[in-house]
């Protein structure tokens, strides 16, 4: 049983890194959002498994947030924004897929080297989890710097956050995990509303009706 527990946790965390790689080379916003939903789904499975093997029922809450909010609500909301803004056909020029992937591999190697060495004393499950989590965080940051579009930057940020939740749940008995994941969800909700206002402004110049009134008054 301990073998199974460890191997499954390993598989799920590794799967998250893999999905992070897939996120890196998506050049259409729709497919990016779909892959992100998958990312959040894998995270939910991983957190639920940790809740099971650590006997920590409160982690199920975090898993539920990951599944309900991040895998369903946020991608759907972003999808609607993308449609409303009419940017769903846009193809994003990613810096050069080959280079980004090479950079990603280097980052994963770096996080393995750093964390496996630094956490050599910690228990093996936490150690592996932390190194995978760091890889997910770094890949997310790489995605944020290689993208120009606000929506894909947000997806990058959300994958960083998924990596953090993975790290927090891997650390046995860490308090405040649920609170932190709730705080993060609020942050993301704010960001999503933020993009909406921001992008709309860029298109139609303003969302503030009163600013329009003032503008008209000046012309008269």
């Amino acid at each position: 049983m301990p073998h199974l527990a460890f191997d499954t946790a390993h598989l799920l965390a590794g799967g998250l890194v893999l999905v992070s790689f897939v996120l890196l080379y998506q050049d259409r916003l729709y497919s990016l959002l779909n892959i992100y939903a998958l990312h959040a789904g894998v995270l939910a499975a991983s957190v639920a498994w940790q809740a099971e093997i650590q006997n920590a029922p409160h982690l199920y809450v975090t898993a539920a947030i990951a599944l309900g909010f991040k895998a369903i609500v946020i991608p759907v909301a972003l999808r609607r924004i993308v449609v409303r803004l009419g940017i769903h056909r846009e193809i994003e020029s990613v810096v050069s897929t080959g280079l980004t992937m090479l950079g990603g591999m280097a980052l994963v190697a770096l996080s393995m080297v750093v964390m496996l060495k630094a956490a050599a004393e910690a228990n093996p499950l936490a150690r592996e989890d932390l190194s995978f989590a760091l890889a997910v965080v770094l890949l997310g940051l790489l995605m944020m710097v290689t993208r120009r579009n606000a929506v894909s930057q947000v997806v990058g940020f959300m994958s960083v956050e998924n990596g953090l939740v993975l790290a927090a749940t891997g650390a046995r008995g860490m308090p405040l995990v649920v609170e932190i994941s709730v705080a993060f969800s609020i942050l993301i909700a704010f960001i999503v509303i933020g993009i909406f206002l921001f992008r709309i402004r860029e298109r139609f110049d303003t969302v503030d009706v009163q600013a329009l009134d003032r503008f008209r008054g000046e012309q008269r």
Binding site: V114, A122, L130, F157, L164, R172, M174, L176, L197
Partner: protein
């Protein structure tokens, strides 16, 4: 039985929360501004009373010790004076139609939430709670930076948001690593995140994990301090938001983030095998100071210029704490206090100047000492202070930092002195155009509240001549705590 001091401790948090709820309901802006001032004044009184009386034993979530009480007092003092300034400033913004009464209701409520978040970050004894509080403070300032809803303001808020989020993400990873390091020693659960417990057991932690954790924490919270290379949000956020927020950002929020770094520095110092945190802080601090002092020359926007000056000074303070030792720490604390007072004082002045001139462009502002003598001379005094000229308080602290570094690492001291001189040149160059010569640009009569800005500048001036013995003794004591 609740200890009286515990009551005060919760008052520092509860007054802003209650005030925020009230202010969200008050439609009249005059009443709102008045309530805002009253609430910050009450919080200031509560914060000051933390100095007297016995302290309660550190709790699982909140505590007060000799280090954070200094930060809390400074935080609430500047919070109070800024609310006085803000009442006049924001009234003018309402009159010229840059904001609406509804925005103001929101603004006042957010101001209190921000003070609550900063106070919470300062008295949190739990590193997770501290992280949450810093995140809350970031969120509220993001919203306030975007208050004017102009294209530039929203862009600045977005940039701040993204960079701030990256910063807090890195800081959270560092926090998790500290927990992982602590968990085998202290055990699972909330105890392994309580700062006082962590420090007591730090010697037994795995040093390799602590090292990695500190790098993440320094980069993460360092983003919020405005240290290069992650400073890019700071000038935009300062320039595009309402000026009271620029004052609070520069004077307070940067300090709160630095306080978080200092807490973890103490933790690192308690573990003999871990890498010394000093050199990392010295490098980042020096790089920020040098970089910002060069950037000062090319600025065209007056608020942006002082924002770069904040990066420079936060770099100097981080440098001083990185050098460590009683003298450098003392100088760092003094410099932090002086910078908070001076920079928020300058922003009060600049806010009114931008209002009477109707612009923030340096090229359109000139001859202020002739047209608006109070504002003009206030600016002169402020810039002289921030540039580090002799009779004022910042000179004392910069002198202490440079001389104490000369004793230990002459090369670093030369670099630091170079940064100071370069910044000095840029500031005086711009000051000449702004304050003297023929008047340029619009000239509306000033409706300013001079009291907050002159109180700040007078305090800085007084500190240059005389520091009360009790204050010196307190800072020396805290400097020893910082190691």
């Amino acid at each position: 039985m609740i200890e009286p001091v515990a009551d005060i401790l919760s008052a520092v948090l509860l007054i802003p929360v209650i005030a925020a709820a009230l202010l969200a309901l008050v439609p009249n802006y005059r009443l709102g501004a008045g309530l805002n001032v009253a609430a910050t004044f009450l919080t200031l009184l509560a914060a000051l009373s933390l100095f007297v009386g016995a302290r309660p034993a550190p709790g699982a979530y909140l505590f007060v010790d000799d280090l954070n009480v200094v930060f809390i007092a400074l935080n609430n003092f500047v919070g109070f004076t800024t609310s006085v300034f803000s009442a006049t400033y924001i009234g003018h913004e309402l009159k010229i139609g840059r904001v609406t009464a509804r925005h103001l209701r929101f603004y006042h409520a957010m101001y209190q939430v921000l003070l609550f978040a900063m106070n919470l970050a300062l008295i949190a004894n739990n590193i997770g709670l501290m992280w949450v509080a810093v995140e809350l403070a970031t969120l509220t300032t993001v919203i306030m930076v975007g208050l004017y809803r102009t294209h530039e303001a929203l862009e600045a808020a977005w940039k701040y948001f993204i960079l701030g989020s990256v910063g807090i993400a890195l800081a959270l990873f560092g926090t998790i690593l500290v927990y992982v390091a602590a968990q085998p020693v202290i055990g699972e659960g909330a105890d392994s995140m309580v700062w006082t417990t962590l420090v007591a057991h730090a010697a037994a932690f795995d040093p390799a994990l602590l090292n990695v954790a500190f790098v993440f924490l320094l980069l993460g919270y360092g983003t919020k301090v405005g240290l290069a290379p992650l400073h890019a949000w700071l000038p935009d956020a300062h320039a595009e938001g309402p000026t009271p927020i620029s004052a609070v950002l520069s004077g307070l929020l940067l300090n709160v983030a630095l306080y978080a770094v200092l807490r973890f520095k103490i933790l690192m110092a308690a573990n003999a095998a871990a890498v010394a945190p000093g050199p990392l802080m010295v490098t980042m601090g020096l790089a920020s100071a040098l970089f910002a002092s060069f950037m000062l020359y090319r600025r065209r926007d007056i608020k942006r210029m002082f924002a770069y000056s904040s990066i420079e000074h936060m770099g100097i303070i981080t440098f001083a704490f990185g050098m460590g030792g009683p003298l450098a720490n003392f100088a760092g604390l003094l410099h932090m206090t002086m910078h908070s007072l001076t920079k928020s004082g300058i922003f009060f002045t600049v806010g009114h100047i931008a209002q009477v001139k109707g612009t923030q462009r340096i090229a359109d502002i000139g001859g202020l000492t002739e047209t608006h003598p109070w504002l003009g001379w206030g600016l002169v005094l402020g810039v002289i202070a921030i540039a580090g000229l002799p009779p004022l308080g910042i000179f004392t602290s910069e002198f202490l930092i440079v001389t104490s570094t000369f004793n230990r690492a002459p090369l670093l001291a030369i670099l630091l002195a170079a940064a100071l001189l370069i910044a000095f040149g840029a500031l005086l160059l711009r000051l000449n155009g702004l304050a003297f010569g023929a008047p340029r640009g619009n000239s509306a009569p000033a409706e300013a509240s001079y009291i907050p800005m002159f109180v700040h500048l007078a305090l800085v001036l007084a500190a240059g001549f005389y520091l009360p013995g009790a204050l010196v003794a307190w800072f020396q004591h805290v400097a020893r705590l910082l190691g």
